[in-house]
């Protein structure tokens, strides 16, 4: 399993990514949502290991933080990290979805300095947040807009050929779909239909590339070394069965 260029199932995405999140010490509930976001990414044809590896690396190296606070005024709301670090997209993504649910989108929500904006998109998608727009300009000056048209259809507009899942470090702005006009002129436009993409994945599996072994490495931190004692007694069954 640790080798690259594998085809895995969606259930394996759930299993391995939940534990990979836990392996970098994200709380289990956050890790569960992180894995669901990765399933959504995979269902849309993305390699989930590419989408997530930087966020896991950052948490592991303590370059990012899960500490989050919010501020709200009459015009807008703001989610930000309470430490002098990048805001981990694992926490940013669940907090964004929660915020929309308990606060509504009656203005713009800014999420500051997020390491992997696409994980916020995946989380919104996995939570079926329709009628929502997200936009950002990343550290390489690539701009992206994502419009969630309905439960299955979403649109991506980008200012360049850069891959959205590899877009890193940005302030992400969330608003109602009809509240803000597109700021990207003559951008590349692609419409995704989750139902069609999902069917392809169910029939062909999820391709994971060169980053997969690193995901597996984080996952494997949840495994306990086997000893002679645990091997003999931990599962309760004998080592040889003849009858």
């Amino acid at each position: 399993m640790p080798k690259s260029d594998l085809t895995i199932s969606l259930n394996e995405v759930l299993f391995y990514f939940t534990r990979a999140g836990f392996g970098v010490k994200a709380p289990i509930g956050v890790s569960e949502d992180f894995a669901r976001s990765n399933i959504w990414a995979a269902q849309n044809g993305f390699d989930p290991s590419e989408c997530s590896i930087l966020a896991l690396d950052n948490l592991d190296l303590k370059k990012s933080s899960l500490s989050i606070k919010f501020e709200k005024n009459s015009e807008s709301s703001h989610l930000f990290c309470t430490e002098e670090k990048v805001l981990s997209s694992l926490e940013a993504s669940v907090s964004c979805v929660d915020w929309i649910e308990f606060n509504g989108l009656d203005g713009e929500l800014k999420i500051s300095n997020v390491d992997c904006p696409f994980l916020i998109i995946a989380s919104l998608g996995a939570s079926q947040c329709s009628g929502v727009k997200a936009s950002w300009t990343d550290q390489d000056n690539n701009s992206f807009e994502v419009n969630f048209i309905d439960d299955v259809k979403w649109e991506m507009i980008s200012s360049s050929e850069a891959s959205i899942e590899l877009s890193h470090y940005a302030d992400v702005y969330i608003s109602s779909l009809d509240a803000v006009k597109s700021k990207i002129q003559n951008g590349n436009n692609k419409i995704f239909n989750l139902e069609n993409e999902k069917l392809k994945v169910l029939n062909n599996g999820v391709k994971v590339g060169e980053k997969w072994p690193e995901i597996y490495e984080y996952f494997s931190r949840c495994l306990v070394k086997s000893s002679a004692e645990s091997r003999a007694s931990g599962a309760g069954a004998g080592l040889v069965d003849t009858d």
Partner: protein, 580 residues
């Protein structure tokens, strides 16, 4: 009485409460019912007139090689590809950590090409070490019960029927040690097949694989007997072959599944409890049902007589059950006890007031059994596609209410006591085998699986006590992300009260075996044979019709089977009701 008139909701007086049902001791006394998933599958096979064919047999004189067995449904074909090999006796183990098996299987979605078979020949015998594709639905393996396997071949080869007592003492020719589906090791995700009518009920595709494995084992011994005995050889008597099930050895892997699928578990339990409540609410017994029940008590007694295990605890329970069924039969001889209004409720209440949990749960199964016409529709409600959501807009005051109402069992445990946190669950690096450790003894506490539900609710409850009640949960979760998973779980329980095991899963006295039996009973397993507190052997499909019997009138009559004989009383739930 029409089915509409006995619709029961969750508030019915006849419905047993979650506090009563979802306790480990009762869960660990479960028996299969007519809503169990194997029963559902067999009824569908018969109703839709599924066809079964062996389409390939390329094996040597010892039966080693590859075979393909197909189930042809109205719209699709499913093919079991079976690989057999010789293995050293000292490598034959029921454990996940095994490396070789007598037989390995893939259930293929459709009719495999030679290329598919070649691919699987490279992978299936490796089991967890292989990789599979969305065209494979199930991966499984099995080992022989050597003494039964050889006894049957020898007997048949010499023109005789095998020793029925030996068959009865084991119950099967081969024992599966893992049956993987739902996307494991690259196999198809459940979502690929979930909309197919034959796959909608839980675990139907895995249990189809097991059904075909059972057929394969019987076919294998008959072919080997023919090879050895030539014209002298005979086939198994149909009553004997029908009694041969397929074994299974189940360990800890099933327990985390139960805890990680609360919505599914709620649906299973509500269906069974609704069936019971519908039966208990019947004012006047449906024609023939009481007579069938009384006869089924006799057959159940015989079934229990054949249920012999080495485990001392289970043996004591079986002995007690034997006496209690006898007492119940005597009580039922007084017609005034049963021929009265609400007879089923009267029987249930008498058993609950006087007998063990083991007996209570067997009677639940027996009184549901003659009521197919009013309970079988519930089988359609037992699966789910719902994934519990974190509801950020719920208020903390509401969450507190749910904790107070539904989790008293957790908040009243003293987790400062060592015995309350004695155990932990973990995955070993050894083939990801799930294991059960003791704190202070075993390594791995830091990698504990998140199954400490009672403890986590307890910890959350303490923090909630000092938190502003008007705060939305979403805001609380930003400050306390460590509680996100348990909040989601509590919110799910609010909507699905039968989803939670209401006991401390970490306590010193906790027996994972209870969880295993609960789940296996829903599958339809019988003859629970505990080998420790952590694993059990069982029989599956014992008494079920074989492929050539699937259209027989008595195809649905196989609860509590007895050795070498068909059901001793007429069933009123399928076409053999004509026999009444």
């Amino acid at each position: 009485m029409s089915s509409e008139s006995v619709l029961i909701d969750i508030e019915s007086d006849f419905m047993r409460s979650p506090e009563k049902v979802m306790r480990l001791d009762r869960m660990g006394s479960s028996f299969p019912t007519r809503l169990s998933f194997m029963r559902t599958l067999i009824r569908r096979m018969s109703k839709e007139n599924w066809q079964f064919k062996r389409t390939l047999r390329k094996v040597d004189k010892d039966g080693y090689g590859v075979s393909v067995y197909s189930a042809i449904t109205p719209k699709r074909t499913y093919s079991l590809i079976a690989f057999t090999q010789e293995i050293p006796a000292d490598m034959r183990t029921d454990r996940v950590i095994a490396e070789v098996w007598d037989a390995t299987f893939s259930l293929f979605d459709g009719v495999p090409t030679q290329e598919d078979i070649d691919y699987l020949a490279e992978n299936t015998p490796l089991q967890e070490g292989g990789r599979y594709r969305p065209s494979e639905l199930v991966l499984a393996r099995a080992n022989k019960s050597l003494r039964v396997f050889e006894n049957i071949i020898s007997a048949l080869a010499s023109g005789n029927q095998p020793d029925i007592e030996l068959i009865s003492s084991v119950g099967y020719l081969m024992r599966t040690t893992a049956v993987y589906g739902s996307g494991k090791f690259g196999c198809a995700d459940r979502a690929k097949i979930a909309d197919r009518p034959e796959c909608r009920a839980p675990f139907q595709i895995e249990l189809l694989a097991v059904y075909l494995i059972r057929w394969f084992t019987i076919d294998l011994v008959e072919e080997l007997a023919k090879e050895r005995g030539g014209e002298t050889a005979v086939r198994l008597d149909q009553n004997i072959s029908r009694f041969i099930g397929v074994g299974n050895s189940t360990g800890l892997g099933m327990a985390p599944f139960l805890l990680k699928h609360p919505t599914l578990i709620h649906n299973w339990v509500v269906a069974k409890e609704t069936a019971l409540a519908r039966v208990r609410s019947i004012e006047t017994a449906l024609p023939g049902t009481l007579e069938v029940f009384l006869k089924s008590l006799l057959q159940a007694s015989q079934h229990i007589d054949e249920w012999n295990v080495a485990d001392e605890v289970q043996t004591a329970r079986i002995t007690c059950l034997t006496d209690e069924i006898q007492s119940l039969r005597m009580w039922c001889e007084d017609e005034s006890n049963i021929f009265r209004p609400y007879p089923w409720n009267g029987i249930y209440q008498f058993v609950e007031d006087n007998f063990s949990l083991e007996c209570q749960e067997m009677i639940v199964s027996l009184i549901i059994e003659p009521h197919g016409s009013i309970v079988d529709d519930l089988a359609d409600t037992m699966s789910t596609t719902t994934i519990p959501k974190f509801k950020a807009a719920m208020s903390l005051s509401q969450l507190k209410e749910v904790v107070a109402d539904a989790y008293k069992w957790a908040t009243t445990i003293d987790f400062s006591l060592q015995e309350s946190q004695h155990h932990f669950w973990y995955y070993s690096e050894d083939k990801l085998e799930p294991r059960f450790g003791s704190k202070g003894v075993d390594d791995g506490v830091d990698q504990e699986m998140p199954l400490a539900i009672g403890r986590d609710v307890h910890d959350l409850n303490e923090v909630l006590a000092s938190t502003d009640e008007d705060m939305p949960i979403g805001e609380f979760a930003m400050n306390h992300p460590q509680f996100r998973h348990i909040i989601r779980r509590i919110q799910n329980t609010f909507e699905r009260p039968y989803s939670e095991v209401q006991d401390n899963l970490l306590s010193e006295s906790m027996r994972p075996l209870d969880l295993l039996r609960f789940k296996l009973a829903f599958f339809g397993a019988s003859k629970f044979d505990p080998k420790s507190d952590l694993w059990t052997r069982i029989s599956m499909y014992q008494g079920a019709p074989l492929p050539e019997q699937i259209q027989d009138p008595n195809h649905d009559c196989w609860s509590f089977p007895i050795a070498g004989r068909s059901q001793s009383y007429p069933c009123i739930s399928c076409s053999c009701q004509k026999a009444i």
